[in-house]
């Protein structure tokens, strides 16, 4: 069985809606775009769609994913990926844009299981460039980094050092820096905000943007859908 995978954005004001709201928007979007999504059986049928890793409310993203379950006939009768992407893009609200669509087999791992790391762009303030470089070097020269996290009502101390794959300064500002950091998602997602707060409590994160969600293929981490293959001009994003 096949499903349609869509990579989409969540930027601007709409970053303040929650994950459940995003799911509801997708249900309406598919109806608006006339995509004949399959429905679950049972007492209260609902459209069969599944999402990648949940994005915390308030974070922006250029790499959200949704898998849409469709009948086989959808992919045979003149399937036109570009056209479908455009229809979906038109039906999405401001701030959400369909960047790419692709066909995946449902026998593959679900998105949530497949994703191994995320690349984040984080605007940090309250620190000068030199200070940040030192903070970063201290982090990478350390062997471990313990973080307290709540899990099912219990406070756990976990070493997350191995989950920090990279952290680089992308841009320098008068009051801080913009960094790019790749953080592992297993066994549990490491949020950039939690990491930064842990390594220096003075750091303030102003804006967080997910750039990529990467899956493992052999030794390589790759995007589930590359935007370059199938670019779409994003609509104007307010604020």
């Amino acid at each position: 069985m096949k499903c349609l995978r869509v990579r989409y954005t969540k930027r601007g004001k709409i970053r303040f809606i929650g994950h459940r709201d995003v799911a509801r928007i997708w249900e309406r979007t598919l109806r608006k775009a006339n995509i004949p999504v399959l429905y679950s059986q049972g007492f209260s049928p609902h459209p069969r769609i599944s999402f990648g890793l949940a994005l915390p409310t308030g974070f922006e993203s250029e790499a959200e994913y949704v898998d849409i379950y469709l009948g086989a006939e959808f992919f045979t009768e003149g399937f036109d990926a570009i056209l479908i992407q455009q229809e979906i893009d038109r039906a999405l609200p401001t701030g959400m844009n369909a960047l790419a669509v692709g066909i995946v087999s449902t026998s593959e791992d679900s998105l949530q299981e497949a994703v191994d790391s995320c690349v984040w762009e984080v605007r940090v303030s309250g620190v000068c460039v030199e200070e940040f470089k030192k903070i970063r070097n201290d982090l990478f020269s350390s062997e471990s980094l313990n973080i307290e996290r709540e899990r099912k009502g219990k406070l756990l101390v976990e070493d997350v050092r191995f989950q920090v794959h990279s952290m680089d300064i992308a841009e320098e500002h008068a009051d801080g820096v913009t960094i790019l950091t790749e953080l592992g998602t297993k066994p549990r997602v490491l949020r950039p905000t939690d990491l930064l707060k842990r390594i220096n409590s003075e750091l303030r994160t102003v804006r967080v943007l997910r750039k990529e969600q990467l899956t493992l293929q052999g030794n390589h981490r790759i995007e589930p859908l590359s935007v370059e293959l199938n670019p779409a001009a994003p609509a104007e994003v307010l604020a």
């Binding site: 004001k13 809606i17 709201d21 249900e27 109806r31 608006k32 004949p36 209260s44 409310t57 308030g58």
Partner: protein
């Protein structure tokens, strides 16, 4: 005007449900502000989730933005965590459309649909940096308008608002915009607020409280009339649009980005109701019945579903099963070309088997629960309140529901109704028990939820003279019900907080002496009083006491025939002597049939304004016995059943007598 968004986005992460404040709904209109236009901020003084779906507000939002001389944006009461942050950061109330400060608008228009939001009105004014009292505002401040059902007695908030609109707002908002934009074009030093208000007072349906004097003597209101020298109407008459078909609004219903109540397409199929339930203010003040043309309904549904992506449409009105040929409308709506199933709901089900059969076909997928509102436990009391449902109507309805797959039935009742005895109160449990017995024929464990609300007499109804039950009396009745319900398996009893009923009662029929009470309660933090987690009866009792006002006098006391009522100068068209006669009939257990299908009683709502019912069929609806002069069970009428298999629709007819 400038946007506050840059400041807001810095802390929206820190408040509960930030999506309440971002706007961005599908259907949002980018306003084109200009100095010549009257700019309206339409405010629903409750949370975004409650306020966003409000159809009245959305209708006016579109009408005002379509006009050349006005613009409109929207705002909702910020939740307590948000208002705390806003005050800390000196951020005023703002619109969700472009995040502009409320104080920059010309008109702040509040939708008042329930009394317990009155303190939120004060909160919103204060957050807008607008003086609370009308008399303290000058030409630089916005005009504060109230609309909605509460304006049939706006006296408790009369000192805080500049103007109230009675009745349908579709036409009058345009007239106000016209006068306002003309006034605004004058040189600044010539702008005189009181002159503007006097000019607005000449518009039918517009009430300017500051132009009327309320006189009290020995703790009683003795008169309320225009101040001397004011050449204005002694009685302000409501506005009524005669043809709903001329107003196909909202054309682009707002689709919120976050979850709200009634999160579905809503299409108003008629306005007004003449069932004549005596406790129901909406049914009295919105007369006559005006049906929307059937083709327009179908096209609004079709366009609406396509545009919004909703899979559910609600055909709204005060009693939707009464729409002429409702079964045909539903079947047309359900045959729409769509790739996913569409469900249709009628928000106010009539209590009869016909309605249940219709509902069964409409909600193919989700048979979660069905709600009926018999309102009173015995036939005698239902005649008093003119809700003419026989026990057999109810039993036929629940039999139909259980037999068609529903397991849960919800019954809604009022307690504290006029002439109510303990036998009537206990009749509620009796009906619920019999309902369960019917359910056991079809299911192993059927359930019935009984919801009980305390009755609050409302202005403009035949019960406006009735002394409300005291807090203790309502509690006693609740305990009576609780004890009786305990022994019955499958019966779940829920009740409304009788203390909130008390406060609603004070405000519902209150007068201008309540202004300082509202101010005190608000100052002590008494906002969101319709939310149980924030409601605080002590704030109200203390404030009443400090002002030397008694709850007994405002709520529990029976009014006399000759007594001046605080809303005597405001009219929904119904003659006071018609209402009084209906009140006397009620006390004699005398019902009154629906005037849509029987001769006119001359209540005043049609004759007074030279308008008529607009109904496509002069014949009572199939199966709807109540108040139609037709007994359903003896009727030989043919009932239409609608069923849908796949996308094909089969219309079948069958006899009604089961």
């Amino acid at each position: 005007m400038s946007s506050l968004w840059n400041e807001l986005e810095q802390f929206l992460d820190d408040v509960e449900k930030p999506a309440r404040y971002i706007g961005g709904e599908d259907g949002m209109i980018a306003p084109e502000h200009s100095p010549e236009k009257a700019s309206w901020l339409l405010i629903y003084p409750d949370t975004y989730e409650i306020g966003l779906p409000n159809q009245g507000l959305q209708i006016l939002y579109e009408i005002l933005n379509e006009r050349d001389d006005s613009t409109a944006e929207r705002s909702y009461a910020p939740w307590v965590d948000m208002s705390r942050e806003m005050r800390k950061r000196k951020i005023p109330l703002f619109s969700v459309d472009t995040h502009r400060a409320a104080g920059e608008f010309d008109i702040l228009a509040f939708n008042l649909s329930a009394e317990l939001v009155y303190t939120n009105l004060l909160e919103c004014l204060d957050l807008s940096d607008v003086p609370l009292y009308s008399k303290e505002r000058n030409a630089k401040h916005p005009i504060v308008i109230a609309g909605g059902h509460c304006t049939y007695n706006p006296e408790p908030v009369a000192d805080f608002i500049d103007l109230a609109v009675l009745g349908d707002g579709e036409e009058v908002v345009g007239e106000i915009s016209e006068i306002f934009s003309h006034w605004k074009s004058k040189p600044e030093k010539e702008l005189d607020r009181s002159e503007l208000l006097k000019e607005l007072a000449e518009l039918p349906g517009v009430y300017i409280p500051s132009l009327y004097e309320a006189t009290f003597s020995n703790g009683r209101l003795v008169s309320i009339s225009p101040k001397l020298q004011e050449n204005i109407a002694n009685v302000v008459e409501k506005r009524t649009i005669s043809d709903l078909g001329a107003w196909p609004y909202p054309k682009n219903q707002l689709v919120p980005l976050t979850e709200v109540v009634h999160d579905r397409l809503n299409v108003e199929i008629f306005r007004g109701c003449t069932r004549g339930c005596r406790f129901c203010q909406a049914g009295m003040i919105t007369r006559p019945v005006r049906e929307r043309p059937r083709e327009q309904i179908v096209s609004m549904v079709e366009k609406g579903l396509k545009r919004t992506g909703y899979d559910e449409v609600s055909l709204t009105s005060l009693s939707s099963a009464d729409f002429s040929g409702i079964e045909n409308v539903i079947s047309e709506v359900m045959t729409q070309d769509s790739c996913s199933p569409v469900s249709v709901s009628l928000p106010s089900l009539r209590v009869d088997a016909f309605t249940v059969d219709t509902a069964s076909q409409m909600q193919q997928a989700r048979k979660t629960g069905l709600t009926f509102a018999p309102e009173a436990g015995t036939w005698r009391l239902r005649q008093v309140i003119n809700k003419l449902i026989s026990d057999d109507d109810l039993f036929a309805a629940v039999e139909s529901a259980y037999s068609q797959g529903w397991r849960r039935v919800k019954l809604y009742f009022l307690i504290g109704l006029p002439t109510e005895t303990d036998e009537d109160t206990l009749g509620i449990v009796d009906l619920a028990e019999k309902t369960l017995e019917i359910g056991r024929k079809y299911h192993k464990n059927p359930s019935v939820t009984v919801s009980v609300g305390g009755f609050v007499p409302k202005p403009g109804t035949p019960f406006q003279w009735f002394g409300q039950n005291t807090e203790q009396e309502l509690l006693r009745k609740i305990y009576l019900l609780r004890d009786a319900a305990k022994k019955i398996k499958g019966l779940k009893l829920k009740w409304h907080d009788s203390r909130a009923t008390v406060v609603e009662g004070i405000l519902s029929r209150g007068d201008r002496r309540l202004a300082p009470v509202l101010e005190k309660v608000w100052k002590e933090g008494g906002v969101f009083q319709e939310w149980s987690e924030h409601f605080n009866i002590d704030l109200w009792k203390n404030a009443m006491q400090q002002e030397g006002l008694s709850i007994e006098d405002f709520s529990y006391r029976h009014r006399e025939q000759g007594e001046v009522l605080p809303w005597d100068h405001l009219s929904a068209g119904l003659h006071k002597d018609f209402l009084w006669q209906d009140w006397r009939d009620a006390l004699n257990n005398q019902g009154l049939e629906d005037c849509r299908w029987t001769p006119c009683y001359d209540c005043g709502a049609c004759t007074g304004y030279g308008i008529e019912h607009v109904v496509a069929s002069a014949v009572p609806p199939a199966g709807g016995s109540q108040g139609t002069g037709v007994a359903a069970l003896q009727s030989s009428e043919t009932m239409v059943l609608i069923s849908q298999t796949g996308t094909a629709n089969n219309l079948q007819t069958s006899g009604v007598n089961e």
